[in-house]
Assembly symmetry: C2
Homo-oligomer: 419 residues x 2
């Protein structure tokens, strides 16, 4: 049925006279509190999520907060947000956590089984922000609730994409990507027209070596590689941004998240990191999402979806920014990007190998054991070795862990061969 | 209810393997043909609309095509698209039209009453592309059908916004804006989050005088003003782009179309005319629509809505474009923009006066009777004179025509006073 214009101006007028933030909050007051859990509550994404919910605590009931090791910080945020339960994945911290939470009304628990039990507590929304393969099982458990899962773990899609997305479908869960590029794509996909998408382009800042020659890059130091121009992030992801492997991994994530084929996904270099993703349609339209580089914007989007909430981020002022520039990526100088695209196209389990080998290679670079150019080379060699030995697309979580282990072993042995 | 991800990857994959255009067409084959009429079929928007429907004629049944004067062209396109009816607004051309259509199966008619009867023929979608106040009555009649109206007439919103939008609401019609900026805004408004919009920014190329000093602008020639940097358009709108009045009129249109207050609307200068509108949200996200400057993109959007169709437009290649630049508009050098914003804020009928006075002023400039700087000055003087005499916000179409006539008379008398 063709209906009238979708918004009611009169009501809007009344709301906007109070200012947008107030209007959003008022419209929110009719909601019952949302039960939420945060897996990885002491990391960067977890902290930003807590920052947002702490600004409007009436809207949320915090169920479980989990962390890996940091008992002190976990206890502090659990008390601050009145969580039902706080869980450390590492059982060694249990006594510290328990004593810190004594008499607060927040339960304490620790260890892998306690973590899974925490994830299984009934919630409306889970932030899945445990990094690495350690996030696979808890995130899958969160998905099985069939509610909203804000996804900030890369490995679920890169290493286990097919089985993860099958679990999402089976549970009828609503997956909301938290990476700025994937949140941008999600926002720029016209829900009525997903068959008419021609291309999705993720933007990349180009990292610290965008304008360097291949020769100069070959002798880049650790400090050079850690000097990211726009985002402040952890060391591993900062190196991945210098090689562009990070963008390659994001392409693989996008492949699983969005209704496109591998050859409809690509990267464009955009040094200002303001425009995060472009979705190109068959009618010539391109929809894009932009923001200042602050993770609270995509986190707020996932938290308020399908509505939007106010977030305390710097507002984008394009007249002040002046210029947004774009250039094609140089896949010769940044071979990691091509490796990731090839693995995505192959769709045969190679992405699991790529991710594992890259972790070993970046670790070796961070420890000063290999040169910058050897990172991508080691990943390529590991993939070659794995394909020679024969690999299969993982069908189960056990398959994923086995292929991940195998790949790490291959990468380590290739490392010691050459060193 | 929280549900699974909105698109079915398996189905999409099958479709996209055939290429996007084919996929879109295939999904379209399940539709029954859409009954459409085009008001203003021989103008630029009408021709682009016919270009699009002619590429996929099975999807459309062309009901009525109308034009002002051009019997020959109207007859040609009516036959080409197998229209039921062709109507000239000017009765003088009736015999020419009738003889050109003899034996073709397309009825011929002419005159204002025939035009209205044509608009009243039952359709699913109408392109309302009659320019000027002549478009008011036919467009209102189209709206009264309560189906889809693609709106390419400015005056319905600028001169008669309140009563027009009331008619849209009353009829439950679906209004789809066709101007590139308003189509962009429509595409960038998150339907679940219209209360969370903080600001809508329309982009303006800045026109031929963007970098000129006020002194140099004062002596600009007609040829200078007609030399638009990015869009190829008619003479009136090209002059409006040189004064930025065009952008001011578009702000007024946006005020009526979208769920924001006047103070939430503004303009940013973007010389490349690639990014058409920015919608800023409370979470710090900015959604934008971009395209190469080709009206077939917004027309295709309105034609296929809520789906999307393939359009034969040049695809945007940002790496090739290289740079998108933005700057704040200089409302001292471009006083027409401030006049339009003031009229929009007043919301008291002044926009009708502004539009009428601007038409007289641009006509006088095109005829070499006034200098460039006098265009905005005459509009300002006319508004002052009208406010001194006392005006009221038009409640009926007759009120609109009366205020429009009054304003033209005032502008003309101010013109002859000074010349």
């Amino acid at each position: 049925m063709i209906s009238g214009i979708a918004w009611d101006k009169t009501t809007e007028n009344e709301l906007t006279q109070m200012g947008t933030a107030a209007a959003v909050a008022t419209s929110a007051e009719t909601h019952t509190p949302r039960r939420i859990s945060i897996l990885g509550a002491t990391g960067s994404v977890g902290c930003s999520t807590l920052d947002l919910i702490g600004r409007d605590p009436e809207r949320y009931d915090v169920v479980a907060l989990t962390a890996h090791n940091n008992a002190e910080q976990l206890a502090r945020v659990a008390v601050e947000h009145n969580a039902e339960l706080a869980v450390l994945a590492n059982p060694d911290g249990y006594e510290d956590l328990k004593s810190a939470l004594a008499g607060t009304g927040t339960e304490a628990a620790a260890g892998p089984d306690a973590l899974i039990e925490a994830v299984e507590r009934s919630v409306d929304w889970t932030m899945a922000a445990i990094t690495g393969c350690a996030g696979l099982q808890p995130t899958l458990k969160a998905v099985e609730q069939g509610t909203c899962v804000a996804l900030a773990n890369k490995e679920c899609l890169v290493s286990a994409g097919d089985l993860f997305m099958k679990a999402v479908d089976r549970a009828g869960a609503q997956l909301l990507p938290v990476d700025s590029e994937h949140s941008a794509a999600y926002q720029a996909i016209d829900p009525g027209a997903s068959t008419a998408i021609e291309r999705i382009l993720l933007t990349a800042s180009g990292g610290p070596f965008r304008t360097w020659t291949a020769e100069k890059m070959a002798s880049a130091t650790l400090a050079d590689a850690l000097n990211h121009p726009t985002w402040s992030m952890g060391r591993k992801i900062t190196i991945d941004s210098a090689t562009l492997m990070n963008k390659g991994l994001e392409l693989i994530e996008a492949f699983h998240l969005f209704p496109v084929e591998a050859n409809q996904l690509d990267v464009v270099i955009h040094p200002q990191s303001i425009l995060h993703c472009l979705v190109e349609y068959a009618d010539g339209s391109v929809l894009a999402q932009m923001s200042s580089p602050d993770m609270r914007t995509p986190i707020a989007y996932s938290l308020a979806w399908p509505e939007r909430m106010w977030a305390p981020t710097e507002r984008l002022d394009l007249a002040k920014v002046g210029s947004l520039t774009f250039e094609a990526p140089d896949k010769d100088r940044f071979p990691a990007l091509r490796l990731a695209q090839d693995a995505m196209m192959a769709d045969n389990g190679t992405t699991t190998v790529l991710n594992a080998a890259n972790e070993i290679a970046v670790e070796a670079f961070l420890e000063g054991r290999i040169e910058f150019a050897r990172i991508a080379a080691l990943v390529a060699d590991t993939i070659d070795a794995a394909l020679r030995d024969g690999i299969a697309k993982p069908e189960t979580l056990a398959d994923v862990f086995a292929l991940d282990d195998l790949s790490r072993g291959l990468a380590r042995s290739l490392l010691s061969d050459k060193s």
